[in-house]
Amino acid sequence: MNVMLYSMEIAMVLSGLGILMLDLGTPARGKRDLGYLAAFLMSLLLLQSVFMPEVQDGFSLLSSGHSITEGPGYKLDAFARYFKHLFLLAAILVLLMAVDFAGTLRARLAEFFALVLFALTGMSAAASATNFITLFVSIELITVSFYVLTSFQRGQMRSLEAGVKYLILGAAASAVLVYGIALVYGATGSMEFAALGKACPSAEHDHLLRLGLLLVIAGLGFKIAAFPFQIWVPDVYQGAPAPVTAFLAVGSKAAGFALLMRLCHHLRPDLRELTLTVLAALAGATILYGSLCALRQRNLKRLFGYAGIASAGYLLLGLLALNAQPGASPSGAQGCHAMMFYLAGYLIAVMAAFTVLCHLDGEDEDLSVLAGLHARSPLLATVLTLSVVSMAGLPPLMGFLGKFLLLQSAFEVLSPHPAQLWLMVVALGGVVISLYYYFGILRAIYWGGGISPGRPAGESEAITVPPLARLLLIACGLILLWVGIFPQALLEWLGDAVALFR
């Protein structure tokens, strides 16, 4: 049994616990440094994993020299490794954002950082899950840590309310998930995803399996905020503190999609037919719901919530490609390839946007908070513009390539059966509708709030951005622009990450 296989998760948990221990010793002033420490540890882990991958599978204690990447319910392949790096990057950005955001969190900073690390552990475990037990455990680890994180600002009613809502609905979803797992286990007799590939002995087994599968998809649907289960997103995004919302929007959604990808990969051809129709319906409805609701939205966080729902819809399009052809197929790989690229772009854009939000003083994040931002702080304005335009999917930024790849794989799947034309129309329409609210943000920055260009911006004071955050923002902006124009490096890296599906 190769212990090193789980070294990344172990490292994350140990550093979380370490932070908690250190918290006893550090004086009140030093609490922020814990955040920097946590971020530093995670970046160490990230660098190690990127540049020295053989540490994980190289010197396995008992095995005969060749690297074992398999464990019970756990698999560390290029696909999992890519997602782990995504989650590590997200966690680092959230930790640094939380340090600057510490002013509003006030008490118990160490617990905040520790919980972020625990949630990170859950996500990286989810990336490697190959059986339902690991799936359930990782999902629950993420959810429970987010219960606490969303309600972290005890003093404010909003945070508590968000926490409670997320708690009740999250618990209901996980109950549905467990029941689904039970039925699938009942039908296939084994917890492994691979078991889904075998044929069912009898008809009612098959019927049970279908019901179980639908319930599992429903449970995961809650995580990725797909249409019927996205009702919690706006309130929780608005109530939770900004770093948590960002982490929730990116981390838990990516974990949900990683699990769905692995799950769909193992499905039997007739099950694939079922999931194809289900996911097509979900995708169309999610895009429509997310785009339409955001049109009239004035609150920034809720706006990003609805935008997140819409992007979940687009990601589901990628998932369709996986289910179109039986077994491993080039178009399936292309679908996942597009999803993973889109997730990377989405992560950086959301993190940049929320970092900017943290630095905007303004209790209720209404659009008018952004008024005159171009004058008050050109850096924040430019980075927010870049992230919004990338989310809108306009060239030459990363988001455009993500959406382009998704549309390409969706078209690959849909062109043989013209009946699915409505989905293409909805997807294209969604992009156009989304421009309305994304450009509403641009309008708020550059000429919103009745600030005519002539009026000197001196009245509303300039925002000073701390040096580390400034560096972070510039880095995010540059990544969005650079990868948008020269994506070849990332595309190749994704190429072998998707080898599993080809």
């Binding site: 060239p395 390409q408 293409m424 421009l435 309305y436 020269f486």
Partner: protein
């Protein structure tokens, strides 16, 4: 490094340089912008001039200079076979996204060289006319350079993905420019309307391109052909005669592309954004948009949709539809222009009407009509830029463009008045200007296949355009000067007059020597557009 890369790269790099400059050096910023638009202009003039003698295939400024002197077309051994077959010059090809099969591939033939020259000239004129922007010049000039670089790149790129990407660069700048520096009270509505219309058109085009690429990969599963390269698309179409374009969603590729490009160019039912946008945009943006960015849709139609014609749709249904819509935009916008009270509103609708001519030229499906369409595109680009530039100057002086409240400006401002008079006369097709040459060629081209439509087009070209243009001249330039008015300042200094003189000169030069363009146009080989092929496919009525 082919001169074409230089043409679109210089403005974008200068935009980055300007970003670094502090905002208070407005003079320096304006001069740098002028330089950043002048260099591409000179390069595109050189490219246009030496187009015949330059060797097909890879070419740099040095080979262009040598070709210019030697006057004899040399053979360039490094040229790729496809580039030689389709006579693309000054090409350059590098890897960009090999795993997606998308490469950076630029090249120019008669059609794109003419449009490129017009684009860079209008960009330079727009940079000169950006003088009337007083607030936040730095951001304005950065966005203007972004637009100029983007559209030049779109005209030279032979890779459909690159062409799309370059064109989309202009979307966000347009929104911000109309919103921040726009005119009139409903500029917010105008900004949103323009952006949503253009992105809807662009997304349709993207869907069409993806479909096309997917069709290419389906017919050539083995080769690493990506389907986004234009030349490979031509080769594939001529080899397989588009057999696979029938099943699945593929019959929708042609209409999607046609509709998408149509929306980008304000085809009739989707044209309401154009007049509103040009009326409320600042001068430079209106010049760039009405003059150049609008022509991308037409360029795309000629480059991508026209070669699909004989295969994708044997019944010519879509082309008859395009003809009908083109005729509708010609007549409808002309008639609506007669009722406009605002000068820029009238100019906006007249530019929609002129686009009607180009649609007719394209829908006539023969080389004569196509040559006319290109001529009208180039001529209208110069004319729209000139008239919106002058309208901008008038707006700066009289604070209003309500035609009823203006009058007798020919006496107040002799230079600007004469220039506007010549622009409006060129608009209604007076010979000597390039518009007439283009319109008459389109009419000749169209008569063969659709005599009835041509009669209506003649009526629109001669009568309707004369009525609204002369009505504008009568109200704005002629007649007694209005009672209440302060002294209007005419464009006296040279750098104020330069853009107008340049544009007028180009209009007159192309009006007297349209051969400069048509000669290069005929040389540019349209894969399926040989007259024999077309006439066989499209029998003349008699």
């Amino acid at each position: 490094m082919s001169p074409l890369t230089l043409i679109w790269l210089v403005p974008l790099l200068m935009a980055l340089v300007l970003l670094a400059l502090p905002a208070r050096h407005t003079g320096l910023i304006r001069r740098l912008t002028l330089v950043a638009t002048l260099l591409p202009l000179l390069a595109s003039v050189l490219v246009f001039a030496t187009l015949e003698s330059a060797p097909a295939g890879r070419g740099t400024l040095a080979t262009a200079w040598a070709a210019a002197r030697s006057q004899s077309p040399q053979f360039n051994e490094a040229a790729a076979p496809l580039e030689v077959q389709y006579q693309f010059k000054y090409t350059e090809r590098t890897q960009w996204m090999p795993s997606l099969g998308i490469g950076y591939h630029v090249g120019v033939d008669g059609l794109s060289a003419a449009l490129l020259l017009m684009a860079t000239l209008v960009a330079f004129a727009a940079a000169c006319c950006a003088r009337d922007v007083t607030a936040r010049q730095k951001e304005f000039h950065v966005l203007l350079l972004l637009m100029a670089g983007g559209i030049s790149g779109a005209f030279v790129s032979l890779d459909l993905f690159g062409m799309y990407l370059f064109h989309e660069l202009a979307l966000v700048p347009t929104f911000i420019m109309i919103g921040v520096w726009g005119r009139g009270e409903n500029r917010n509505y105008a900004a949103y309307k323009v952006t949503l219309y253009l992105s809807a058109g662009a997304i349709l085009v993207l869907a069409g391109l993806i479909g096309l690429a997917q069709f290419c990969r389906a017919t050539y599963p083995s080769s690493e052909l990506s389907g986004y390269n234009l030349l490979e698309l031509y080769r594939m179409l001529s080899e397989t005669h588009g057999t696979g374009l029938g099943e699945g969603l593929r019959p929708l590729i042609l209409p999607a592309l046609l509709l998408g490009f149509g929306i980008l160019v304000s085809l009739w039912p989707f044209h309401t954004w154009a007049p509103l946008a040009y009326a409320s945009a600042p001068t430079a943006t209106a010049m760039m948009h009405a003059g150049v960015i609008k022509k991308f849709g037409l360029y795309g139609m000629i480059r991508v949709v026209l070669p699909l014609q004989p295969f994708a749709d044997a019944t010519y249904f879509w082309w008859h539809l395009l003809l009908a819509l083109g005729l509708a935009s010609l007549l409808w916008s002309g008639l609506v222009a007669m009722r406009q009270k605002d000068l820029t509103g009238m100019l906006g609708y007249s530019s929609v009407a002129h686009m009607g001519f180009v649609f007719l030229g394209i829908a006539s499906l023969n080389l004569v009509g196509l040559a006319g369409a290109v001529l009208v595109m180039v001529a209208h680009g110069l004319l729209a830029a000139l008239s919106f530039g002058l309208a901008g100057h008038l707006h700066a002086q009289c604070r209003t463009l309500e035609m009823a409240r203006l009058g007798g400006l020919l006496r107040e401002m002799p230079f600007v008045g004469t220039a506007l008079l010549m622009a409006l006369l060129a608009g209604c097709g007076v010979p000597g200007f390039a518009n007439f040459a283009g319109e008459i060629t389109v009419l000749f081209g169209l008569w063969k296949s659709q005599p009835a439509a041509t009669v209506l087009a003649c009526w629109a070209a001669l009568i309707i355009s004369a009525v609204y243009m002369l009505r504008a001249v009568r109200q704005v330039l002629h007649g007694p000067t209005p009672a209440v008015h302060q002294a209007y300042v005419d464009a006296t200094t040279w750098n104020e007059r330069l853009p107008y003189v340049l544009l007028l000169g180009a209009l007159l030069l192309l009006g007297v020597f349209p051969r400069l363009i048509t000669q290069k146009m005929n040389r540019c080989y349209q894969p399926t557009m040989t007259d024999k092929g077309l006439h066989a496919a499209h029998p003349a009525p008699r």
